[in-house]
């Protein structure tokens, strides 16, 4: 059956992508919240936040991009949940296909949908005055980090998607993820935070990822941050993938 893995995944990916083109609101709503936050922070709070020589929109964008991904992956859980509930997941699993392609199609769909949302957010940021002199390699590096981050969180989303009992339960897991950037260097420099909060902020994954992307955009040396960021992304990816596969195997046996 595995000889059909790529073909089956492509067919199922086509199906999910059609879902997205028929309800483009999933992309819009994914992008709207981060854009609203960006407007609020740049035009309301931004003036009171001292980010040194960097303009606030430039400072803010990396964190906003992570929030975009965090809100986007909730739809992966939602779509998977609907497939589980509607019985079409079981139909696919009882067919002579490469069974895991059902999951991979959802994961790839998440990558595509989140990429579109990210592009929309970056375009709005450009309208708001975001500028970067970063060259193609730096942009590719940013894209690579974001793809890794999206993959890691998407596999996390697969877990509630497979096991949730209600729609609310399937997407509720993403709320804490959306707020994690607030306790990081995404909105304000961490050195203004009180001791304990600062310690948490400086050692959670969002800070290193934000710092790495920010350094790439501003053409600063990325230093150790990029390696810490990559280690976090890969580490989270391995753990969430393992748990997701475990949940999946329990579902189908």
């Amino acid at each position: 059956m595995t000889r059909h893995f790529f073909g089956d995944t492509a067919v199922l990916l086509g199906r999910s992508l059609r879902h997205i083109t028929r309800s483009p609101d999933t992309i819009i709503t994914t992008a709207i919240m981060p854009i609203a936050m960006m407007l609020m922070f740049v035009y309301v709070f931004g003036g009171a936040i001292n980010t040194g020589s960097v303009s606030y929109v430039n400072y803010l964008l990396p964190g906003i991009l992570l929030i975009t991904v965090a809100s986007g992956i909730a739809y992966t859980a939602f779509r998977l949940f609907i497939d589980m509930k509607g019985g079409i997941f079981e139909r696919f699993q009882s067919m002579p296909i490469a069974r895991s392609s059902v999951l991979w199609a959802h994961v790839l769909t998440s990558l595509v949908a989140n990429s579109i949302s990210l592009v929309v957010v970056v375009l709005v940021a450009l309208l708001m005055g975001f500028r970067s002199a970063a060259g193609v390699p730096a942009w590719l590096a940013v894209a690579g980090i974001l793809i890794l981050f999206t993959l890691a969180l998407t596999w996390l989303a697969v877990i509630p998607g497979l096991s949730a009992k209600s729609v609310e339960g399937a997407s509720a897991f993403s709320y804490p993820l959306i707020f994690l950037p607030f306790l990081s260097s995404a909105f304000v420099p961490t050195d203004t935070m009180p001791g304990l909060v600062r310690a948490f902020a400086e050692h959670q994954p969002v800070t290193s990822i934000v710092n790495a992307i920010r350094a790439l955009f501003t053409q600063q040396p990325v230093g150790a941050d990029i390696w810490i960021a990559l280690a976090w992304c890969v580490g989270i990816l391995i753990v969430t993938f393992a748990f997701a596969m475990n949940t999946y195997h329990r579902k189908i046996s």
Partner: protein
């Protein structure tokens, strides 16, 4: 006799057991289904019908016992089993966002068939869905959805089809449409295993009926054979009458003379 049955059977289930944690759902289920026949698994809600279907369609693993479909063991040759079957689950497993035609094309492509478009159009015609083919499934009625669901199961002509409560929640008209589709399937030589909680459905469709009760098959036979099981109930009714009479006579006998007793008898 038994050997012949096994050889001619396309579904063979023996000693099947399954528990969900503490709850023992199947306690040793045995049955055989002959090729090209319609076999009804009858039982009330929670009797374990869906569990049997899920094990046979490789969605669940049994705790004990064996099950074979089309000569393949569900536990050791699940891929071959999946090549041989189609499952129509308890709820119409269709993609609401796609059109009817797109649903059929999707399944045809997943079954790696040539000309998925033509397969879809033929099935739409056969199930009287041609006019609705381009519409989103979310606009379909319950009966249309079920018909599409069954049509999706026929793609690739698998020799065995499982229908899990195909008419639950359907109106009478839609029910008759589904029955028609199932009968046609058997005509074409497909083996159908259907589960139902409706006695008349089993009576209408099935060549053989098995009653699943508390995790075991308590009866298995043709409708005629099952009907022959009814007389014992009549005997019970006859036996009850003397018991009533006994009580009556005993009461009357205790209170008065034989003459009184007879008077009461003649008045009545």
């Amino acid at each position: 006799m038994t050997d012949d049955k096994v050889r001619g059977s396309v579904i063979h289930v023996q000693g099947l057991q399954k528990s969900y944690k503490e709850l023992q759902v199947l306690r040793g289920v045995d049955f055989d289904v002959a090729r090209g026949s319609i076999f009804a698994l009858l039982g009330s809600n929670g009797a374990g019908k869906t569990t049997v279907v899920k094990i046979l369609s490789t969605l669940l693993k049994a705790d004990a016992g064996t099950a074979g479909v089309n000569g393949f063991d569900v536990a050791t040759q699940p891929a071959n089993v999946r090549e041989s079957i189609s499952l129509t689950g308890q709820f119409a497993a269709v993609d609401e966002i796609l059109s009817g035609r797109e649903n059929l094309v999707l399944v045809a492509r997943l079954r790696h068939l040539k000309g998925p478009g033509k397969i879809a159009d033929d099935l739409l015609k056969r199930f009287s869905l041609a006019d609705a083919g381009a519409r989103k499934v979310s606009t379909y009625s319950g009966g249309m959805r079920r018909r599409l669901d069954i049509a999706m199961s026929l793609i690739g002509s698998p020799p065995v089809i499982f229908l899990d409560e195909p008419t639950t929640g359907l109106d009478p008209q839609a029910r008759i449409e589904v029955w028609q589709a199932v009968k046609e399937l058997a005509h074409r030589g497909t083996t159908v295993l259907l589960t139902t909680q409706y006695l008349d459905e089993a009576e209408h469709l099935a060549d053989r009926i098995a009653i699943l009760h508390q995790g075991r098959i308590i009866v298995n036979g043709t409708l005629a054979e099952l009907k022959r099981l009814l007389p014992p109930a009549k005997v019970e009714y006859v036996e009850k009458q003397p018991t009533l009479e006994d009580v009556f006579l005993a009461l009357v006998g205790d209170n008065g003379t034989n003459g009184h007793d007879r008077n009461v008898g003649t008045n009545a």
